[in-house]
């Protein structure tokens, strides 16, 4: 009788202790995650311009965003373009650089540092720099291409080149993937390479049948986190569009979103555009929920237990 009692008391004490340790996050979760998420759903069915009270409006915002809002489909298309092309380029290039760094024997520390540095560059600063470097008229990149006789694109001022230019900027900052791939590549058992070599495998076959299977969970991790990142593209396309259009003011000036020709518009930008420039909070919440649905779909993929991407237990 008394042992059950003490056991139960012990359980209760350990439950309280767990609760105490988790409490900062539990409060944060409720106030800064659950509550605003539910509110976003609620606001998406109301008309609200920031004054007075929100009034219930049924599906008006939803049909407006999907049916009439001229920027929604271009923004969705751009976002998906970035998700596919940017992630593919970053993963392939990151893996290439990661493999290169494992083969470098002299000055590996210097090389690794140089490859990693761009990842640290603040996005606004990096974007400003790239818009200047890729400036068709006076930028050094097009000057060099011109000297080499290569026809140079107009980058951030040409709708068909603005997204590739953003991709180039993202590939430049591939240092994080390089580090992750490097760690994974160094973990591949050397014996497997030796065995493959004894069997007469070519370098490509060694990559295909030894390297890839060993690092595939990390490739998958890089793809899924990359997709989530690309879906959130906000600062770089916005700053690039503002600077390239020559309309940089933070206050007052009217700015054509997605310059040039809506080509750099992304879903997160629409939330800002609808909510904080047009004060149509309800429609902004609809776009926010589209973004939410997309990111949760990919997060679910990331957490699939047997995928082994993020193990929940020990």
């Amino acid at each position: 009788m008394s042992t059950t009692y003490t056991l139960r008391a012990k359980h209760r004490r350990s439950a309280l202790r767990t609760l105490a340790f988790l409490s900062p996050w539990l409060i944060g979760f409720c106030v800064f995650f659950a509550y605003p998420l539910i509110s976003t759903v609620y606001f998406s069915f109301t008309h609200y311009d920031g004054f007075g009270a929100a009034t219930f409006d049924g599906l008006t915002n939803w049909s407006y965003v999907f049916g009439e809002y001229p920027l929604f489909w271009p923004a969705l298309r751009n976002t998906l373009w970035l998700v596919i092309v940017m992630v593919a380029c970053r993963v392939v290039f990151g893996l290439g650089v990661g493999m290169l760094i494992t083969k470098i024997k002299t000055g590996v520390g210097v090389f690794r540092t140089l490859f990693y540095l761009p990842y640290l560059a603040p996005p606004v600063a990096a974007t400003l720099g790239f818009v200047f470097l890729l400036n068709p008229g006076t930028g050094p990149v097009n000057s060099l291409l011109g000297d080499l006789g290569i026809p140079a694109p107009d980058w951030f001022t040409d709708p068909s080149w603005s997204k590739p230019a953003l991709t180039l900027l993202a590939v430049w900052g591939v240092g994080d993937l390089m580090v992750i791939f490097m760690a994974a590549l160094l973990d591949v058992p050397t014996e497997q390479y030796e065995a493959a070599e004894l069997d007469g495998a070519s370098p490509w076959q060694r990559f295909r049948y030894v390297t890839l299977p060993n690092i595939s969970p990390i490739v998958m991790f890089a793809v899924v986190t990359g997709v989530i990142q690309a879906m959130q593209s906000y600062t770089q396309p916005l700053v690039a569009a503002k600077v390239a259009s020559g309309n940089m003011g933070n206050s007052g000036q009217q700015f054509e979103p997605g310059y040039p020709d809506k080509s750099t518009l992304t879903l997160p930008q629409l939330v800002y555009n609808l909510g904080f420039q047009r004060f149509d909070y309800g429609s902004a919440c609809v776009v926010a929920l589209v973004l939410f649905a997309l990111s949760m779909a990919f997060t679910a993929l990331l957490m699939k237990r047997r995928g082994g991407l993020v193990q929940a237990g020990e």
């Binding site: 800064f32 083969k103 490859f115 603040p122 997060t299």
Partner: protein, 295 residues
């Protein structure tokens, strides 16, 4: 560190040995030329920015890459731009205070998620990961209305700093990954000696977790340093509350044609990040590795 691709040829004097040695040398040259090419791709943009920041205003509109005369005064001009020093102060407040708050509040949460067994632990971890993956734009409308209309704090950076006192999902996740690598035997030993959980955490775990804490602190600091969206939402109408990342973009607006001054300001915003990196390389690499590799 060992390298999986290290198959250096045996240095023997036989003809076969000589061919193998020549092959190894050729491979060394190929790999390192490729390395230099990649290094140029990563470094040249920095070099161009630096050079442009030292040109006079007119030269930025020409195709010459080397400054005609080195205009170091550009940097003084940037510092004398009204607001620039205020942006530094604001950025340090947001990044510094935010980092301290998020680390202090996230450590116990990460510890519980890594080392306690309790019902709902996996669910909690999944929710942390969901929070981490949530684009900030998804919840920004209610959050803005909450801070601006109910607490009247728009125009300041407090809406960005205060939530960090309640744990940050990314910090919690990374710290948990790190704490998993600390063997349970140390904790059990402390408990046998009669330490409570809090004392075990402070006396035993924290000293061992120092590299992990350094990594998450750096990540949090640079997240705030680089943040553009947050200051744009809450502080855009109040230039006295702008941060460097946000102010930098408007700087280009104020100095319409002055690419040299803009690039000097850009260099100044990048410089602290890169400087800190050189002192804390290990912590950075540790942090990046934690996101991907250790389960």
């Amino acid at each position: 560190m060992t390298y999986a691709f290290d198959h250096a040829a045996a240095p023997t004097a036989t003809p076969a040995g000589r061919t193998a040695r020549r092959k190894a040398l050729l491979r060394w040259i190929a790999v390192h030329s490729l390395g230099v090419a990649a290094a140029l791709f990563f470094v040249l943009p920095f070099v161009f920015l630096l050079l442009t920041s030292l040109m006079d205003g007119r030269q930025t509109l020409t195709r010459d890459l080397i400054p005609h005369h080195w205009a170091w005064s550009n940097y003084r001009a940037v510092f004398e731009t009204p607001g620039f020093l205020t942006w530094w102060k604001n950025t340090l407040l947001y990044a510094g205070l935010g980092t301290v708050l998020s680390v202090v509040s996230s450590v116990p949460v990460a510890y519980a998620l890594a080392k306690f067994r309790f019902r709902g632990r996996n669910l909690s971890l999944m929710l942390v990961i969901s929070m981490m993956m949530l684009p900030p734009q998804v919840i920004i409308i209610p959050m803005y209305l909450f801070w601006a209309k109910q607490l009247d704090l728009s125009g300041t950076l407090w809406p960005l700093i205060i939530p960090l006192a309640f744990g940050d999902a990314f910090t919690i996740f990374l710290l948990r990954q790190f704490l998993l690598t600390i063997p349970n035997e140390y904790l059990d030993a402390a408990r046998v000696d009669g330490c409570g959980e809090l004392r075990t955490l402070i006396k035993v775990v924290l000293p061992m977790a120092r590299p992990g804490i350094a990594a998450v602190a750096l990540f949090q600091f640079f997240y705030a340093w680089n943040d553009y969206f947050g200051p744009q939402i809450y502080a855009s109408d109040t230039p006295a509350s702008w941060t460097l990342s946000y102010g930098l973009e408007s700087f280009k607006g104020a100095h319409h044609t002055d690419w040299n001054l803009t690039m000097a300001a850009t260099v100044l915003v990048m410089a602290p990040v890169i400087l800190v990196f050189f002192f804390a390389q290990k912590a950075f690499v540790e942090g990046v590795t934690l996101t991907g590799v250790k389960g």
